[in-house]
Amino acid sequence: MNLDNIKKEFPIFDEKIQNNDLVYLDSANSSQKPKVVINRINEFYTKQFSNVGRSVHYLAVAATNLYENTRSSVQKYINAKDKNEIIFTKGATEALNLVANTLGQKYLNEGDEIILTELEHHSNYVPWHYLRKSKNIKINFAEINEAGEVPIENIEKLITPKTKVIAINHLSNVTGAILPIKEITELAHSKGIIVVVDGCQGAPHLKLDMQELDCDFYAISCHKMYGPTGLGILYGKKKWLEELPPYQGGGGMIREVKKDRITYGDLPNKYEAGTMATAQVIAFDQSIKFLESIGIENIIKHEKELIEYGQEILRKNNSVKIIGNPKNKGGVLSFTIEGVHPHDIATILDEDGVAIRAGHHCCQILHDKLEIPASARASIGVYNTKEDFDQLNESINKCKKIFDL
């Protein structure tokens, strides 16, 4: 598929948003959906619906096969060694909660230490914070540098004999910094430390190869990856998923239930309790196919060019201050305008159909560090163009005019 006309694949761009063409720069929050994904959900509910994994009737068997097909597609897409290392969750948040909770139950002991970074999204901090309360686990934050990156040395110097887990994001949703996961994993594993990666921003924009990255866990948010909401993926190394206890209890995850004992099912069922987001899983197969049809190398090239263009024009716009300047940067451009609060920026931009995010982007630790209460963020997807950044710049100028800058 060619990136030049890719907007045509996304029906939302045919809509007028408050009489404007949509300039969607909020993909780090959630991506828009290609018609193949939308149509697949409709088709599944219209012609093929059944719950999966339980009944033996025709529809149930067919739906189960479709559901498992997606698991295989994901396995291939992220190059996991085993299909059973792919666990569907209700979101990346649940995936990270699953890891923190089960590691807390079985693997972590009082006084153990966990290393996070100052870049972490609240979903890769709050679940670990619970362990502070319940197990007296200590959390250390690796500091960012001036560029908004976390150099590996800043992680290394926090490692002590008590460090058990390093939980880090792959790509910062504020500064756009891409963390050197492979190197961090090598370092961590040399000291027997588990690596958990929040891959929410990495998965839609970077090449994923679990065997190469070698991390122990990797959490994915499907709705940021041109897929449906209500769906996440946890990749976990088989040895961990087998060793750790179940997370939620319910139907589908058991082997045998007696009045005095319960045994649990094998992977992946052990971690998929209850009726799963069936239609979303099945439609997500189309998201993977969509990404594959463009090719991740093409996506990376397109987004790199675009974000460099965006940085260039915003740098020229005085009073705009870009947050972070990482060498290795993904499709996120956060900024402030001296004298205009990000919420006012977002409201004024919205009037022109320019959709950005304003706030702390679930990263209060980082905003405290930067000593700003909030920032504005433009983030891109495959469908964005240089014209989108031109419009962003024009609307920023309108904003400056209103505020007499």
Binding site: G339, P342, H343, D344, Q364, H367, P373
Partner: protein, 154 residues
């Protein structure tokens, strides 16, 4: 939607140069308000004297032009009023933002009402109503609930 209605001169001016942005010395009532969705925060201080008159009122915090202007205009109008008058003004303002087309209270002078009505532009922007009302809810808490922290998300 009309940006000009939202960002009127008075709002922009108060947003840029907020009145009473400081901490009242010897305050005897205060409360904090937070909007966890955006990180905006406000701390309202007031000094009620023995006659239950607002001798001084001030605020600290940071936020968008709407929230700073709203807190600024609020403190300007509440200063010098009795606590009952203050409550009537608050109720009137919150009622106007929520549903009423006009302000009803007779306590405020016409030009004060005009100032407050400048904030009515947020009615067209549901996501921004909280920006305009956070400081007012915080003031209510300071006066009534012994300073219980206010959150826009309950």
């Amino acid at each position: 939607m009309n940006l000009k209605e939202l960002y009127q001169e008075i709002i922009l001016e108060h947003g840029k140069n907020p009145r009473n942005l400081r901490k009242t010395e010897n305050f005897n009532k205060d409360a904090q308000g937070k909007n966890p969705l955006c990180g905006d925060n406000v701390h309202v201080y007031l000094k009620l004297n023995d006659q239950r008159k607002v001798e001084d009122i001030s605020f600290e915090g940071s936020g968008c032009a709407i929230s700073m202007a709203s807190a600024s205009i609020m403190t300007d109008l509440i200063k010098g009023k009795s606590d009952n008058e203050a409550k009537e003004i608050i109720e009137d303002f919150l009622g106007m933002i929520k549903e009423n087309p006009e302000l009803k209270s007779n306590i405020l002078k016409e030009d004060d009402k005009t100032k407050l009505m400048c904030l009515s532009g947020v009615k067209q922007y549901p996501m921004r109503v909280k920006c305009a009302t956070l400081s007012w809810h915080t003031l209510v808490s300071a006066m009534e609930n012994d300073g219980k922290e206010i959150s826009t998300e309950s």
